[in-house]
């Protein structure tokens, strides 16, 4: 394997990713501009009198031509300045930072629980194919995959927070200045909701992939060589089964970033989902742009990592780099 190979690959993909981000920024900008109404009207709503509108418009510098606004934003971004929120005139970075940390923690927590759990369920189901565990877990994963996230969330709240028992909080309260890990009981139900949303898909793909690998020649060869079953599964079958799964894992992690918004509504979790919806409603371009770029960057990075991971576990692919 040429070391230039994989690093060259990463470089090429990173540049491509930056191009994607640039296109996303233009699209988001155009889309927000296409929305009817201007930020001043959106913010003031019905209380917009001609005077209050004029006062706010002046304050927000809305008179500039559109391309000028976009250019200002791009140059600001390259200097690390995301501009100021139109809704509350705070710097976007200050406003979004705590929300981002909250959302990222939720995604992180959900990810490190759901992915290993899903892999374990998928592998075990494949190894013990058509036995009790497999049949049971297949049924449950299919059921959970069919239920929408917010329904899962609400059911969890009813079961554990309000009606059946009151062991856990129904809403997650992160006081301003606080962090979500200060009160982990508040993280349980939102995380559980996301884990339940994501695990079924990854588990089923893992199982299918594992079944296929377990039927392959080299696994049969490993068994014939007399290797222990555990070694066969973990050292020979699993790495090969994981390859195709990485793409799905990446897709589901990316889905988590979006699924967060539903969970935020159900649990009143202070994250970026509400900020994005509010930003669009207020025509708060700096906030919307910042969040769009963030989510797009997250997708791009995830895809890149999934591809790298796939290559790493599939030595054959490294030679084609």
């Amino acid at each position: 394997m040429h070391s230039g190979g994989i690093w060259g690959f990463i470089l090429r993909r990173t540049l491509l990713g930056l191009l994607v981000l640039a296109i996303v920024s233009i699209l988001v900008f155009a889309a927000t501009q296409a929305l009817p109404g201007d930020p001043a009207r959106a913010i003031l709503g019905r209380s917009a009198t001609p005077q209050s509108l004029a006062a706010l418009r002046a304050k927000l510098n809305l008179g500039q031509p559109v391309l000028q606004q976009y250019w200002n934003w791009v140059t600001g971004l390259l200097h690390g300045d995301l501009g100021n929120s139109l809704a509350n005139q705070e710097p976007v970075s200050t406003y979004l930072r705590p929300l981002l940390i909250n959302s990222a923690f939720l995604v992180f927590l959900s990810g490190i629980i759901s992915i290993p759990l899903a892999i374990a369920i998928g592998v075990w189901g494949a190894v013990r194919r058509d036995k009790a565990f497999d049949v049971g877990s297949s049924l449950i994963t299919m059921l959970l995959a069919a239920v929408p996230e917010f329904v899962v969330g609400i059911i969890l709240v009813v079961l554990f927070a309000t009606v059946v028992v009151q062991w856990l909080p129904a809403v997650t309260q992160v006081p301003p200045g606080g962090r979500p890990w200060d009160d982990m009981t508040g993280m349980v139900l939102p995380t559980a909701t996301l884990v339940i949303a994501v695990t079924p898909y990854v588990a089923r793909i893992m199982r299918a992939s594992m079944i296929e690998v377990l039927e392959s020649d080299y696994v049969e060869m490993a068994r014939l060589k007399g290797l222990q079953e555990n070694t066969v599964i973990l050292r020979h079958a699993l790495p090969n089964a994981l390859g195709p799964t990485f793409q799905v894992i990446a897709l589901n992690l990316a889905y988590l970033a979006g699924g967060v918004i539903i969970v935020e509504y159900v649990f009143n979790y202070p994250g970026i989902g509400g900020a994005l919806v509010g930003g669009v409603t207020n025509r708060d371009l700096p906030v919307v742009q910042a969040l769009a770029m963030l989510v797009a960057a997250f997708y791009v990075a995830l895809n890149l990592m999934a591809d790298i991971a796939t290559i790493l576990v599939t030595p054959r692919m490294r030679t084609t780099l």
Binding site: L35, P36, G37, R41, A42, I43, L44, G45, R46, S47, A48, T49, Q51, S52, L53, A54, A55, L56, S85, A87, N88, E90, Y95, I154, V157, A161, T162, V163, Q166, P169, A170, V171, Q173, P175, P176, G177, E264, Y265, V266, F267, N268, P270, G274, A275, V277, G278, G279, T281, N282, D284, V287
Partner: protein, 537 residues
């Protein structure tokens, strides 16, 4: 996100007796005397059995929907409901309304209209802002100037159209005189609007320091999330407030609010969805607060735009409505049938005008006479307040019976450039008495005149002159006949279809005492009268 249901940033005012008697608070019927001095009981005249002696302490947690990144804290303006909730923690007005919609002196000792175009305000002694500064006439002068300055774009400016900076005069440390540019009997009511708070000289909105005369001091505030307010030890009403702290949290979703209440993470919430009323009632530690207010959701016909230029069409439309069905379908029964007239609590409201009933046959015949049989019309609405979209849809269904096709348009950008320029639209208003409501919506200079009333010629064209006359009367008894005439014109020729007055429905934990149904615009008994008349049992 769109505005939350029943977000009603409207003012509320009421006058039940002669202005002079009431505001002087001396020798006035029932209310004035006992309330001129602040007592330990609430400022409500109807302080019906608040159970037990108020206990001190606790952190009162309020869940409100409607906020977001654009949350503000300003003693003299609001945009959303959380803004209202926060304003009420720290700022007070010269006079206040009680749960019966009656005005009482509060920060002022008296507020008197000496002449049709002159008012005098006398402050109480010894009231301090939370930073220790004494409330004086200078602060009142600054407060009024800030409100009427059009550059500030504050909510209360329209109500003080008759007051110019040169007319605000300090007579001595506790007295301010207002010399108006024209006779205006509505000033006293404007001074009672919750968003016309009295602020210290030099005051500016958040993020500058927030010092008011109210019960709590702002400790921290993150717009879109949460604010914390701590007890003001300097509060002028001794013994109050009772809570150590008030925490106001923004919620994006009503279901999450209800869950928080049920899980014991909140003590009260605003705007309980009608579908959840039984859930709350079934819960042992929770209660529902239903307030029959004067809030209304009119269907507005612009009288100068076709097809509504013909009064027969307007009358036909008013006759097509099945008002009781509207109350049931739009409000789930939480409302009262109305008669196309606003300000039900105004002492001069004309109750003798016959209640309109649905009359499809007459509607059809009127439309035929006007040559508008089987007409089609566009009706614009939005998710501005709970019921706005439902009203439009229910009306469209009812109109079919008269052969009228109504195309409902739900515009997300409703309060944009087309607002107030549409022939047929839905809007929302809070409780307000007659003259201030006219100032806000029924004259050419009003900021929200959806119907473009009054007409320039024909019946109703004398409305403006009647209004001036009414403003010049110092006694309610002299105003009443004029207002009756004005209402009769609106009843017969106006552009509003007002099917009902909506209730405000809130929910709270039974650990909190002191909530009472209220006729005014604000939820939860004016947020517990600034969180000073509620306590933990």
């Amino acid at each position: 996100m769109v505005d939350t249901p029943r977000e009603l940033p409207e003012n509320l005012d009421s006058f039940s007796l002669s202005r002079r008697e009431l505001l002087m608070g001396a020798g006035a019927v029932v209310l004035g005397g006992s309330l001129a001095a602040c007592g330990s009981s609430s400022s409500s005249s109807s302080s019906t059995g608040a159970s037990g002696t108020p206990k001190k302490g606790g952190n009162f947690r309020l869940a409100v929907t409607g906020g977001g990144a654009k949350d503000i804290m300003d003693g003299q303006t609001i945009i959303t409901k959380p803004d209202q909730a926060r304003l009420m923690t720290a700022f007070e007005t010269l006079v206040v309304y009680d749960t019966n919609y009656v005005l009482h002196p509060h920060l002022a000792e008296e507020v008197t209209q000496n002449k049709p175009d002159q008012w005098t305000i006398v402050l109480k002694n010894g009231i301090e802002f939370s930073n220790g500064k004494t409330l004086t006439a200078d602060d009142v002068v600054y407060s009024l100037n800030r409100i009427i300055n059009s550059k500030n774009g504050l909510f209360g400016a329209a109500g003080f159209a008759s007051l110019k900076p040169s007319g605000i005069k300090k007579l001595n440390a506790t007295t301010v005189q207002l010399n108006l540019t024209y006779a205006d009997a509505g000033i006293g009511q404007q001074l009672g609007q919750y968003y016309n708070g009295i602020v210290p000289e030099g005051y500016e909105a958040f993020p500058k320091p927030q010092h008011g005369t109210g019960g709590y001091i702002l400790k921290s505030f993150t717009p879109g999330q949460q604010s914390v307010h701590t007890r003001n030890p300097n509060y002028w009403q001794s013994g109050k407030p009772y809570f150590d702290q008030v925490t106001i949290t923004d919620f994006a979703d009503a279901t999450a609010q209800v869950n928080a209440l049920q899980a014991g993470q909140a003590d009260a919430m605003t705007d309980l969805p009608f579908g959840e009323v039984n859930v709350i009632k079934g819960h042992p530690g929770l209660a529902v607060l239903v307030s029959k207010t004067g809030g209304w959701l009119p269907l507005c016909m612009a009288i100068d735009m076709p097809p509504f230029t013909d009064n027969r069409v307007r009358e036909a439309f008013r006759l097509m409505v099945d008002r009781q069905q509207m109350v049931e379908q739009v409000l789930s029964g939480y409302g009262t049938v109305a008669n196309d007239l606003y300000s039900p609590f105004d002492p001069s409201y004309d109750h003798s005008l016959p209640q309109r009933q649905q009359d499809i046959e007459k509607a059809k015949s009127l439309l035929k006479q006007a040559g508008q049989e089987g007409m089609t019309v566009d009706l614009h609405t939005t998710n501005g307040a709970a019921g706005m979209v439902d009203s439009a849809n229910v009306f469209a269904t009812q109109a079919k019976a008269a052969g009228v096709t109504v195309n409902v348009h739900n515009d997300p950008n409703y309060y944009g450039d087309q607002y107030l320029k549409l022939a047929f639209s839905v809007d929302f208003w809070g409780t307000r008495n007659y003259l201030p409501q006219v100032a806000n919506g029924s004259i050419p200079t009003a900021p929200y005149n959806e119907t473009h009333w009054p007409p320039k010629s024909g019946p109703g064209s004398n409305f403006l002159s009647l209004y001036s006359q009414a403003l010049q009367q110092l006694e309610v008894s002299k105003q009443t006949p004029i207002i009756h005439e004005m209402q009769s014109l609106e009843y017969n020729y106006g552009g509003y279809i007002i099917p009902f007055f909506n209730d405000l429905v809130d929910a709270y934990s039974t650990k909190v005492q002191g909530f009472e149904p209220s006729k005014g615009t604000l939820n939860l008994t004016y947020f517990g009268n600034g969180y000073t008349t509620i306590w933990f049992a």
